[in-house]
Amino acid sequence: MSTPFYVSPQQAMADRAEYARKGIARGRSLVVLQYTDGIVFVGENPSRALHKFSEIYDRIGFAAAGKYNEYENLRIGGVRYADLRGYTYDRDDVTARGLANVYAQTLGTIFSSAGEKPYEVELVVAEVGSEAEGDQIYRLPHDGSIVDEHGSVAVGGNAEQISSFLDQRHRDGMSLAEALKLAVQALSRDTNGTEREIPAERLEVAVLDRTRPQQRKFKRIVGRQLSRLLEADNAAAAKTDEPSDEAPEE
């Protein structure tokens, strides 16, 4: 009979956190930015079918970095939560804050229960308001903490570096094309500071657009619309002829 080793709670939690962070770092980072008409989600994703961003409810979107099966599970849980809540009460009673709380509790319980392996995911829950002041963005790291973000947020392995890049350049009232361009720039920077090009086919882009006439504000931006936005942006950049140290967009 061997005696189990004593591991201090601090050490156990630090190990679990490191395990989760390493898992998340294996995937690509993604960014969520406010723009004048709403919130845009941008990430590099070679798959057309396995999405990183999706609709949870009328005004609420979901973005996730990390292990696909784990965040997909959380996404469906969130859709069920939102639909059940909206069915029981009213569509207006489904809020990003409520959803973020439920996710935080869920991730937190999993993280601190010894029997379960921590989830290797980092989530963003965003809700678009009828005006920019009403926009809400919550970031949910693997341990169940919850961070109320403004303007821009990045999650994933390279998140810190991307966040600081975005913090310096993001401003309120950007157009969709401007925000998209900034997001792509941020994602193109590797950890060692070099830049690479992300072709449009590898980008997954979605928006929560408050100007959409439909009740459901979530929309994917694909194909021609995406290339038009990326191009429009180049044209605008060339016209204003701003001194820029960024590599040209493809």
């Binding site: 469906i76 509790q105 937190g108 999993i110």
Partner: protein, 279 residues
Amino acid sequence: MEANPRSTGRLPAAFLTPGSSSFMDFLADHSPELLPGNRKLPEGIVEAPHGTTIVAATFPGGVVLAGDRRATMGNMIAQRDIEKVFPADEYSAVGIAGTAGLAVEMVKLFQLELEHFEKVEGATLSLEGKANRLSTMIRGNLGMAMQGLAVVPLFAGWDEGKEKGRIFSYDVTGGRSEEHGFAATGSGSIFARGSMKKLYRSDLTEEQATTLVVQALYDAADDDSATGGPDMARRIFPIVTVITDEGFRRLTEAESSELARSVTERRLEQPDGPRAALL
């Protein structure tokens, strides 16, 4: 309690269990008491407001679905401005005749069912799939229907695969049949159908199709006391919706009032409406 959606605790296990993409299946597993079909039936007969006439017609490029605004309880008018035509999703709509309370609840659940599937799967159901799902829901209401609380919808939508508008009608047992050209349900449907039978052509434009359904509703209201005609005094007009490859669109108040006004004005000269050729 796990089923308590107000709880701010972690997501209950059922929420994170892989399962079907159907919201109704999820409800059946998790909160069966919320499913309309699972309710204990009360003793005796309940009297409740009934919605009346819904009509639909296809045209090349889409389909029109419209309903009058009256709900009746016995010989009383229970409501003058009830809405009985709803979008089911972006490319389909459902109009309901029968017990208003149950029907509205059924529509709400049906809308959610389609939306839930779309969100979970990342793809929409086929039009046939939607029509079949509605069948299941009506079948679930059979117990209520036997007590006089029947719900009989009319379902119309744009079939993206076949690139045409299609109409499905139902009976109280959930029996579903595709209608070609035009269809009607509810107490005034006999008269509406007769009207459309004489006026319908397969080459109508969208404008003509919307006029056709308003004429049919006018004829239904003319002969059926439970169907309400355009109420010019209170400015309550039929709800007319159009579904094309661009999606669902409900005619604005201005458009439907204009439509109702022109039909009503012509009826002042010709009370029985437009005449079809004798031969």
